[in-house]
Subunit: 304 residues, 4 copies
């Protein structure tokens, strides 16, 4: 099994970077990732370490034979934390208040920067409170940022049709992620692993960990998809990114409509009414420059 | 047990209507509700019956002793469909395309009006497809519209702090709903029951049914709450309505922050980071004049 | 000329209120209006006077013969301030920061309530600065709130197809405002006059004055319009209210498209491209529960 | 005077491209620009020429000595059309209907692609109607896209703090544009000139022309600005880009608040109330991936 260790990480999904590794479709690869601040935070005192550049990405991985119009099929085999703790925290620039707003200019000095170190033991994460008590949380790791290179642009924290910083809870072990290919070799990047993340990623930095993430990468020829798709054990999922949040939802909806029409031979108005009765929507994040929503339908509700 | 049957329904939550019934706090009442078109749709041919006025509401119920600054505690005991079918459907004015937009003016003639009659048997709902097949769905009834009278305004389909047309999946049997009181007697209205509804209420009319809905209504004195709250077996839930969708989410978030600070003695920044790691968000609906989102935290993640 | 003086004002545009006056189409009427806080603020010390209920409205005026499907044609003849000062001010609930947001809960105590008394002399308004200097501004009065009664709802500060709290700079002397009629007699309300208001009404309370506002009210039979329209000396204007701001713009756009197609016999795609090259857009306000935008086209660019 | 003619254009504002020219601060340069489709459209039949890549950009121009934290001061000296016509047009992917929405999937086949060739003679532009008549419009050229290289990302049609595809009516001859510098030499790009553009850029392609655009480029050391600023004869202008439109407005507002506080020694709450009474807001465009708004205050209303 190939193992991607690299010195230099990237801070954009770019079509112009040199591949860090080449794989043949069907191969499984272990990718070492840093946390969102390059593993610089090690204690509650490391407040000055929470600063750009954020989200170092591993890769890009060149997939042999991948061409514009193909799709990658990526099985998230496993996400293994490579440190016995994750961190979460806040600054005056994240979360409750939007950086750059008029009110932010007034109050930014008074919002504290705080860090919590959350111990990881087996499948549990310990969340410490200020009063000395702790809350016991489950380990449910996700890949926060994963995407192929856009055709011309280089993107950092803005998610899009290529994937990117989606912070979507459905990009988790055992699920299969489909991504569009825009350039030769696809150029797959990933990083920004979270030990556990709530919908909305409300405060901006959920429990951040470095990892060894294991992926199997297949290639689907001429499988034109518009936006990322995910298949889990129980659901079909489409992922859209836009702003405001309802535009992200409608983007995911348009992709789902196309999917059900083409792969399940459904009439468009049947799709409309079936989703009206059964769709599930997860607002993955509303903190990145564009927001991400996942639209899901239970496989049990699909036509046989 | 009291039983509310009434001839005339209301089409707004208004502080000016005569009470249809008075209850003492602690009483349980069965309320008969019509479906969203006044039970006028009985077959797939009833296309001309889908038209305003929509959402006839039962009530208002006057709760003795309720005063501005109190809160109602409403236990949703049961929702019993009173017909062996529900209907779902679409018109050129609902769902995929926003009524009144420039493109709508062009294409509205070409969007079909369609009705599906979905049989209900026990706890199953049958969803018919155009190709003659059917999909088997579960019966999971919710109360689409429930609210107290606003202080001065009369509101029809716009949800707000008073509740109203929230179309929220958490307003379901066994859950407890809390609503602010603005006027003497609170004046509780409800209707618009759905046999099953997806997040987003994407097409506008999920599976619509008349019902007998059983509620136990308690009164909490001087329990100032800003927006509807719900307690389910496993979750604390706050419900916000605004536009765009992220504003609805942030409204629910503000209410949840206050709740956790006051009832669980949590530090505000602890709340921020705990919700960042564990919040669940449901976009109840993005089709009414204001959108509704529910923000949830698992009781298992609360400080002991 | 009729003169409307009344003791009791209204705080909603409601179809249920008793008419304060009846006019025959073609009549001119002088309406006395209070400022947005009922003339309670008279000095910079009156901070406790800035509180609900806001926007007392004069009327309703019953227009004889008006029926659903008609339109009112209202010539704004004159707006005369009836006090030698206006006030502007801010509280922790207006302007820079949205009331009810999570950050607002934290900082609301620290945002000052401030009032400025702005002297009015002839056509000039004096804006005092904290350092003792003043800025000389022009008097450009507008009617902030004007609307007909909705069909069923009673609305306070939410603008809509009926008009209402639009805070639109084009509702000013010499311009002609067209409003849809929903109920018998139309029931016209107005108030909330501003001596001068910027786009966006950013801080929430521009220079507030009581007034004598003179209107000539005509009736257009079966002139179905969807949203308020305005004709000024140089422009055709449509006014839309929604959220987010682009939805308000698109609402005004849809109304303008219909107007140019029907009254100027223009092809829809010609309209699209002509507006692309020449439209002017004013974001009237982004502080009320729904935002208002005005879309304008210069009469000089219309087909002859 | 330097004259920038170049064979290859760029399709992103990128920090990685080779400079096409180097200038010393204070120099004036004439830049040849192509129209938004690379001058490929020459008649109403050229429908297949309206396709990506869009917005070829001239540059980048390396400004000697420019460093992160500086600002460019760019005087738009002149914009000269280099062709006797401009084109405007529409496709199923622009304007009234958002590409990728569910409804778009249904109707895209039925939306026509249309091109109008608009003759330019002196300072007039002729807009042809389908019925054979014409409308006489003024020539009011603007620079649709102008910006410095972002620090890490490469951006195509998304405007931001660096400028970019703002399509702002205030970037016009005689006005002075200020842009932040992020990388050595600043790397200035421009293109996408419009002969005349309405607010909102509603249909997506206002009257597109190639040009010779003359700029004088100065360098302001350590002049940290957050977003583009413009000074015209009568106004101070700030330009924000975000989504939804009110977020773009609030971004421009935050920049203006800072400007008036630092350069005019104004108290923050004085600024708030002065802008409430006098701000002008232009929604430059609501068609690019992020929207752009300009916030303006008349110089006549500034403290002396």
């Amino acid at each position: 099994m190939k193992h991607l260790r690299q010195k230099m990480r990237h801070y954009t999904l770019s079509p112009h970077a040199e591949p860090a590794m080449t794989v043949t479709p069907g191969e499984t690869v272990i990718v070492e990732t840093l946390d969102n601040v390059g593993n610089r935070v090690n204690s509650e005192m490391d407040k000055d370490k929470i600063r750009p550049p954020l989200n170092p990405l591993s890769g890009p991985i060149y997939i042999e034979g991948a061409k514009r119009g193909d799709a990658l099929e990526i099985i998230i085999e496993n996400i293994k934390p490579t440190r016995d703790f994750g961190w979460t925290g806040q600054t005056s620039e994240w979360g409750f208040i939007e950086m750059g707003s008029p009110i932010w200019n007034i109050f930014k000095e008074t919002i504290p920067t705080e860090i919590k170190i959350c111990r990881i033991q087996g499948d549990r994460v310990t969340f410490p409170l200020k009063n000395g008590k702790t809350i016991d949380l489950p380990l449910r790791p996700i890949v926060g940022t994963i995407g192929t290179a856009p055709e011309a642009e280089a993107k950092s924290t803005t998610p899009g049709p290529y994937g990117g910083n989606m912070d979507c809870q459905e990009v988790r072990p055992k699920n299969i992620l489909y991504l569009p290919v825009y350039v030769d070799g696809a150029l797959l990047y990933l990083g920004d692993i979270h030990a556990l993340q709530g919908h909305g990623e409300l405060g901006g930095a959920p429990i951040e960990i470095p990892s060894e993430t294991t992926l199997t990468i297949n290639l689907l020829r001429d499988k034109n998809i518009g936006w990322p798709r995910i298949v889990s054990e129980d659901y079909l999922v489409t992922v859209g990114s836009s702003k405001p949040a309802e535009a992200a939802i409608k983007t995911a909806l348009a992709e789902m409509v196309g999917w059900l029409m083409s792969d399940y031979s459904m009439d468009i108005w049947d799709v409309n009414l079936l989703l009206t009765a059964t769709a599930e929507i997860e607002c993955s994040q509303i903190t990145n420059p564009l927001y991400t929503a996942a639209l899901k339908i239970s496989k049990s509700f699909l036509p046989k």
